[in-house]
């Protein structure tokens, strides 16, 4: 009796491990298919659509940064547009004034934004919940003014116009497609890095602090250090996204970095799933394409839809598209598999 029970238990365990392994295989396969589609897609679309998809990926990197901070670490930022601007201006100034090649501007932009994030994260340790939202909101509102004020560096109201980079010779693709692949590589690297950070010790510390700061501290997590780190990593990603935007659009000006840019990141985050990595891509699509469809109705319509989407998602799907569909898909797949197992 006991023997058979044990056999049964082992069989069940084996099945679980097998299921987990095959889920992982499926996940890899899914990712491979998505990447393959992403590689083929630009060759089937017009230049304008390729440019739009490039924008989607840039937004995705920015939203990913916000997700790390707000979704995983629970610190609410309404000012990530400010860090996006910092990244964009770092890249633009390096390219424009110092003739740095475009690809080499990403590491300095990342470094600058990481340091800014850590600097901002230090006082932010004292602000909880709505207060941090308030401070970051203040930053977002003040950002265009600041950019205009330091006009010797930022070009003031006119901003900085950049020369769009050319693809390396002998590649045989045009500029828009080259930039598309450049951004795609950055996005994939960013997602991989984010997954590594978030699935490891650091990510668990972030989540623990979000869910119960006192318990996290009691378990020996250095709350201050990890919160500051979360801020730095988050702004690093968003800053890199800003640098990409400067490179791809070839133009930076203060009025591109208003409060509404920060809020659109938050919308993308809420729609895709605030504590997910894949949700950032859904968010990117949402930010880029909603204005496209809605602009036909009215200038203001995109923002109305953004606002309504925020409310709707908070009521109906607080974990966002990916946060809701992901577990659902995994569950459905397991059901399917165990049903097949039982049939055997």
């Amino acid at each position: 009796m006991a023997e058979s029970l044990r056999v049964g238990a082992t069989a069940k365990l084996g099945m679980k491990a097998e299921a987990a392994a095959s889920t992982a295989v499926w996940r890899w396969l899914g990712c491979a298919v998505l990447i393959a589609v992403a590689i083929v897609l630009p060759f089937t679309l017009s230049n304008y659509h390729v440019f739009q998809l490039t924008q989607v990926m840039i937004y995705a990197v920015a939203v990913l940064g916000l997700n790390i901070l707000t979704g995983y670490n629970g610190q609410i930022s309404l000012g990530h547009g400010g860090f996006f601007a910092a990244g964009a201006y770092t890249a633009a100034i390096l390219m424009h004034r110092y003739g740095v090649p475009y690809w080499a501007t990403l590491p300095p932009a990342a470094l600058v934004c990481f340091m800014l994030g850590v600097l901002f994260g230090l006082p932010a340790l004292r602000f909880e919940g709505p207060y941090l939202a308030l401070v970051t909101l203040a930053m977002a509102v003040a950002m265009p003014q600041l950019l205009k004020y330091f006009d010797t560096w930022t070009g003031g109201q006119q901003g900085i116009t950049l020369v769009k980079p050319l693809p390396p010779p002998g590649f045989g693709i045009d500029r828009d497609r080259w930039l598309y692949f450049f951004v795609l590589v950055v996005l994939l690297v960013a997602m991989r890095l984010a997954a590594n950070v978030l699935n490891g010790r650091t990510g668990r510390a972030f989540v623990a602090i979000r869910d119960h700061p006192i318990a996290a501290a009691a378990m020996g997590i250095n709350t201050a250090r990890y919160k500051t780190l979360a801020f730095g990593i988050s702004t690093l990603f968003t800053g890199v996204a800003g640098a990409l935007a400067a490179i791809v659009i070839g133009f930076v000006a203060p009025e591109s970095f208003t409060l509404f840019l920060s809020l659109s990141f938050l919308v993308g985050s809420a729609v895709g799933g605030i504590a997910t990595i894949g949700g950032a891509i859904v968010g990117g699509f949402f930010i880029e394409f909603v204005p496209n469809f809605a602009n036909d109705i009215s200038d203001a319509a995109p923002w109305a839809i953004y606002g309504l989407a925020m409310l709707l998602f908070m009521y109906v799907m607080p974990r966002g598209v990916v946060g809701t569909m992901g577990p659902w898909l995994t569950h459905a797949m397991q059901e399917f598999r165990s049903a097949r197992h039982a049939a055997k």
Partner: protein, 289 residues
């Protein structure tokens, strides 16, 4: 000296507007523990209603009263429909919902009234007063704010509903046990906040000109005022708002370029939160863990 006094007085007039909006924020914070990021846009929308009424040849003060009434009802409806479902939700949800409201109001105003600047009539003539120390317009703004404050104070101090509202904000459970309809009190709180915001919007519109993004700076100063005074204290919010108004004006005139005024607010917010997170008059929030 004369210029300094001039700047102080015009700062007080601006401060009175910030104080009103800060007071609206504090009312909502005390009632529902929410920082209402949509407060500025709600005020802006109310101001557009007033603008429509004035353009329909209504006398200014009639339009003023109707706008206040509409805003009051609107605020109550928002609490009932939008805020009630997320009353006990995590802070993030609450923040996202009020941000959603902000976007909706901003976009709706832009949709209906377009983003072009509109002139808004001032009910007060623009004449110098007290040897050009201040204008009648500034005086009018300050007077309207004072009247509103006194009326609110009397309402909360001397009426049964006012008492019930204070009770509901302070201790919802006990208030409910003593027969107060707490939900209705919270809705009333939102109604009042919306009406107070409408006053601020109408007072500031002749100065800033009316457009859907009019209130973003004002909201920032109001937040600064509310934090400086202590976000749990109505008196603090008023004093904080006045201090911010005067500081903003003096710093903008004497210390730095006025293009950086918003940055001053940002720095003030950080200083207050770092060194005196409960503000000048706020009480420390004690939480059980």
């Amino acid at each position: 000296m004369h210029q300094l006094l001039q700047q102080v007085f015009s700062g007080l007039a601006a401060g009175a507007i910030y104080a009103s909006l800060a007071l609206a924020l504090v009312m909502i914070y005390r009632a529902t523990d929410l920082v209402n990021f949509a407060q500025g846009e709600m005020a802006m929308f109310s101001t557009y209603i007033a603008w429509t009424l004035v353009n329909a040849e209504l006398p200014f003060w009639a339009a003023f009263v109707i706008t206040l009434a509409v805003s009051f009802v609107g605020g109550m409806l928002i609490e009932r429909i939008v805020i009630r479902p997320v009353e006990n939700a995590p802070i993030l949800t609450a923040v996202v919902v009020t941000i959603g409201l902000l976007l909706i109001f901003n976009a709706t105003a832009g949709w209906i009234y377009s983003y072009t600047l509109q002139e808004f009539p001032s009910p007060f003539p623009d004449r110098p007063l007290f040897g050009a120390l201040m204008t009648t317009r500034d005086m009018g703004v300050i007077a309207v704010t004072l009247v509103m404050l006194v009326a609110l104070f009397c309402f909360f101090r001397f009426t049964a509903t006012g008492l019930a509202m204070r009770a509901a904000a302070q201790n919802p459970e006990s208030a409910r046990l003593s027969g107060i309809n707490v939900g209705r009190m919270l809705a009333l709180g939102w109604g009042f906040a919306a009406a107070i915001g409408a006053v601020a919007g109408i007072m500031v519109a002749p100065v800033l000109f009316l457009d859907p993004n009019m209130m973003s700076g004002v909201l920032l100063y109001a937040f600064t005022g509310a934090l400086l005074g202590g976000i749990t204290s109505p008196v603090g919010a008023v004093i904080g708002g006045l201090i911010v108004g005067v500081t903003e004006n003096l710093v903008g005139t004497y210390l730095i370029a006025s293009q950086l005024k918003l940055t001053v607010a940002l720095i003030l917010i950080i200083i207050v939160l770092v060194f005196r997170p409960n503000g000048l008059f706020g009480t420390a929030v004690v939480r059980r863990v």
